[in-house]
């Protein structure tokens, strides 16, 4: 924590607020995206809070596990949820001064997310079914290509802000608004949008609504989950989506994030974040509505494109220094 930062109590309140916001907001964003899709297809669609109802229903059910499964299957949802919750708590979502903000390094956040991905991939393999293994193999292939693009894109931002600390990058962007329209930022933005789409399993990379096991990526890994375990996995996925959307918006459109220590500022930041992520969710679902799913072997090309943009962002930034 920076020496002139707000008191510890404020940081604790802010982090709790962030976790609560993402636990509720992640599923709501999914509901919103489903709603936009339904409307575009000429249907009324389920209410936006349907994913929350589904979660409540799942959590009330018994968790059944396959006979031959090991502890991995049981522990994986907790790892996903734990690592995501930690990442949410220390990321600059509503304030630039969350708990442990000094450790909220971009590498820490990226690898916390990666921990969750690896836990899911191991869970996919654990039951020994063909679908789970297939999903894990695909998810790791895509993850291995997406993570570097994400890292390099955020490095471009950190060169600009001369720090790899995410809250500091957000704070610096607020003080230098002109940064948001530099070529570096725009290139990095496109790269990160591609990564976020891949990491959250949206079209054109993965189709979250399909029932076709052979085409699945993320869903294939979770096929063996049922009841409360499935609830945890689904909540984990929704929180990841919420976190990635919120980080994306805050890195590129940081206004509204509280920089001081007033509680009122925090509340305003919550409203701003809700608005920003909703806008992004609507935009992403509109992209989804008008795109079809890429052939699996085209996905690496898309991610390679994202990586190249990220590298270009770094080069542009180094050249303009």
């Amino acid at each position: 924590m920076t020496p002139d930062g707000p008191p510890l109590g404020y940081a604790i309140i802010a982090s709790i607020l962030q976790v609560a916001l993402i636990v509720l907001g992640g599923p709501l964003l999914m509901g919103l995206m489903a709603k936009v899709r339904a409307r575009a297809e000429g249907r009324v669609g389920a209410p936006i809070h349907q994913p929350l109802r589904d979660l409540r229903k799942l959590m009330g059910k018994e968790g059944l596990r396959a006979h031959h499964s090991s502890a991995v299957l049981a522990v994986a949802p907790l790892v996903v949820l734990g690592s995501t919750t930690l990442a949410v708590a220390i990321s600059p979502l509503v304030t630039t001064h969350p708990l442990l903000s000094a450790s909220s390094d971009l590498f820490v956040i990226v690898y916390l997310l990666l921990t969750g991905s690896i836990a899911m991939a191991l869970a996919g393999l654990d039951t020994g079914t063909a679908f789970g293994g297939m999903g894990s193999s695909r998810a790791i292939t895509i993850g291995a290509l997406a993570e570097p693009a994400l890292l390099v894109a955020v490095i471009a931002l950190s060169i600009q802000a001369r720090t790899s600390n995410l809250p500091a990058i957000v704070a610096a962007t607020i003080t230098h608004p002109v940064w948001t329209s530099t070529p570096t930022r725009l290139l990095a933005l496109v790269a990160i949008v591609i990564v976020v789409i891949a990491e959250t399993g949206r079209l054109p990379v993965d189709n979250p609504n399909t029932h076709l096991e052979l085409t699945m990526i993320h869903e294939a890994m979770t096929l063996e989950y049922a009841g409360s375990d499935l609830g945890l996995v689904t909540l984990g996925a929704a929180m990841r989506l919420g976190l990635l959307f919120a980080l994306l918006m805050n890195l590129f459109v940081p206004w509204g994030v509280a920089t001081g220590s007033s509680i009122l500022g925090l509340l305003a930041a919550v409203v701003f974040l809700a608005l920003k992520t909703s806008l992004l969710a609507v935009a992403v679902s509109l992209i989804e509505v008008h795109s079809a799913k890429l052939r699996l072997f085209r996905v690496p090309e898309l991610l390679a494109g994202g990586f190249v943009l990220a590298v270009l962002a770094v080069i542009t930034q180094l050249a303009t220094r």
Binding site: E41, A130, E213, S291, A292, F297
Partner: protein
């Protein structure tokens, strides 16, 4: 109108040579129908060619205690499958067959129980778990198997697919079907001809007109009834209505499988409009009940405005889909069924025509003449895109066909008196929306159905699906399967 059927009875020893000569002179094997007459077994081989419409039946009588026929599997691939079917249900042994594995018979059936034999009796108790089907195993570094089904996610019919895969590339796929075997052919035995229609319309729920009409035509031929031209025109309109509503459904389903949900939704809207049109024309959304043996009746004909509306909505939908480059990329070059393979396998219908085969019963065995705008459309590529385009082109042609037929202002109802015939047989051939459907009906002296033998085009096309999978990847399979959209119910009977 229908071509004269030539029949020839010959000893089993002469079968192979005659069949060879027949196939070489341009006929295709349409059906192999075995019959148990009590004192003897009889196998009828039906060959067709056209145009002009030619039909030839070769009949062989067998000793019921030791029923053997020489195999035709070296001459015709479909013959090898009909022979396996006949082996499972009648116990007729095709001598020299290279691959006599069970086809219809699942391993929980009692050994040596042949359900189509007259002395089969009631269905015996089935074992709970049979011996696993001996799938051919592919060995090698990194090869693994993916078993899928028979129960699938979503509302689709049951079938088991066994993939041998390296990474994502499919090396071999075997489809194990007949989970939906309901004993349809056995059900036909002993029903009166109108009850038979009820069964025929329900062989495959989406092909009520195709199977219903093939059955009626077979019965009418057996009874010597010549249906009026007006009735034929109405029947042709119904057949094309069935083709359009199914093709548009397939086009939507193919879009849905590549995640293009909006196009799927729009296709389903058009399909629903067509189903409502069906209801107002025939009183049934799936067109049941308008065609009976000797009888054809509809409430009204589609109007020109309705046809225009469907045509314009279809072309808008096609424009919308073809403007999406990702969809195009997914379709193009995926699962190519080569023309040579399509021919050797004996494929029929949309699948065959998308691979350049000029097979269409509306061309080779037409049942209506005059005022027809029918064109025999084919594609050359044989990929998913070709099957997609083929459906789109056929729908457009079907609309023109309907328009032409409606322009003839046929009478809405027509009926012919059924005769009280002796025992007789008849053959019905109809180009259903999936391909050529053949029914061969034998009536006995009391005017009831003694035997109805059915060949659905899916029976011919299933092996082509597996063949087209060379060099494809696992996540493309659902799309490829949808592009074939073969019937499980029609195949399994």
């Amino acid at each position: 109108m229908t071509g004269r059927r030539k029949t020839l009875e010959l000893p089993a020893s002469a079968l192979h040579a005659t069949a060879k000569q027949t196939l070489e002179s341009g006929y295709r094997l349409a059906l192999i129908a075995a019959h148990d007459d009590g004192e003897s077994l009889r196998v009828v081989y039906v060959f067709t060619s056209g145009p002009p419409d030619h039909r030839l039946e070769l009949t062989v009588r067998l000793n019921p205690n030791d029923p053997r026929v020489p195999t035709l599997s070296d001459l015709s691939f479909p013959a090898s499958r009909f022979e396996r079917q006949m082996h499972d249900t009648f116990g007729v042994i095709p001598e020299g067959h290279p691959f006599l594995r069970p086809l219809v018979r699942h391993s929980h059936w009692p050994e040596h129980w042949y359900p189509m034999r007259h002395d089969a009796g009631p269905t015996p108790a089935m074992a709970h778990e049979g011996v696993p089907y001996p799938f051919i195993e592919v060995r090698g570094t990194g090869v693994y198997e993916i078993p899928v089904g028979p129960v699938h996610a979503g509302l689709i019919e049951p079938g088991h697919f066994r993939f041998s895969v390296v990474g994502e590339t499919i090396l071999k796929m075997t489809a194990r079907l007949w989970f939906l075997h309901r004993g349809i052919e056995r059900m036909f035995q002993g029903v009166n001809i109108n009850e038979g229609l009820q069964i025929a319309e329900r062989i495959s729920g989406d092909t009520a007109v195709g199977h219903g009409l093939a059955y009626c035509m077979a019965v009418e031929e057996a009874q010597g009834i010549d249906v009026s031209h007006d009735a034929r025109v109405i029947r042709s309109i119904l057949l094309e209505l069935e083709r359009i509503y199914n093709h548009v459904g397939d086009i939507g389903a193919m879009c849905s499988d590549v995640g293009f949900g909006v196009a799927h939704a729009r296709a389903m809207v058009i399909r629903e409009q067509l189903l409502r049109l069906n209801e107002s024309v025939t009183g049934h959304r799936l067109l049941r009940g308008s065609i009976l043996p000797g009888l054809t009746s509809v409430r009204r004909l589609p109007t020109s405005a309705e046809l225009d509306n469907v045509a314009s909505e279809l072309s808008q939908l096609m424009e919308f889909i073809s403007s999406n480059s990702t969809v195009f990329d997914r379709f193009e070059g995926t699962a190519v069924l080569l023309a040579d393979d399509a021919e050797a396998i004996g494929t029929l219908g949309v699948v065959a025509r998308a691979s350049g085969q000029r097979v269409d019963a509306r061309h080779s065995q037409p049942f209506v003449s005059g005022g027809s705008a029918f064109r025999l459309i084919t594609q050359s590529q044989g990929d998913v895109l070709a099957r997609f385009t083929q459906r789109s082109d056929e729908m457009r042609n079907s609309l023109e066909l309907i328009r032409g037929h409606v322009g003839l202002s046929p009478r809405l109802e027509s009926s012919e008196a059924l005769s009280q015939p002796g025992s007789a047989s008849g053959l019905g051939i109809v180009e259903g929306w999936r391909g050529s459907i053949v029914h061969r009906v034998e009536l006995d002296v009391a005017g009831v159905v003694a035997r109805c033998c059915i060949a659905d085009p899916s029976f011919f096309n299933w092996p082509a699906l597996a063949t087209s999978l060379a060099d494809t990847i696992v996540p493309d399979f659902p799309l490829i399967n949808k592009s074939f959209n073969l019937s499980y119910a029609g195949n399994d009977l």
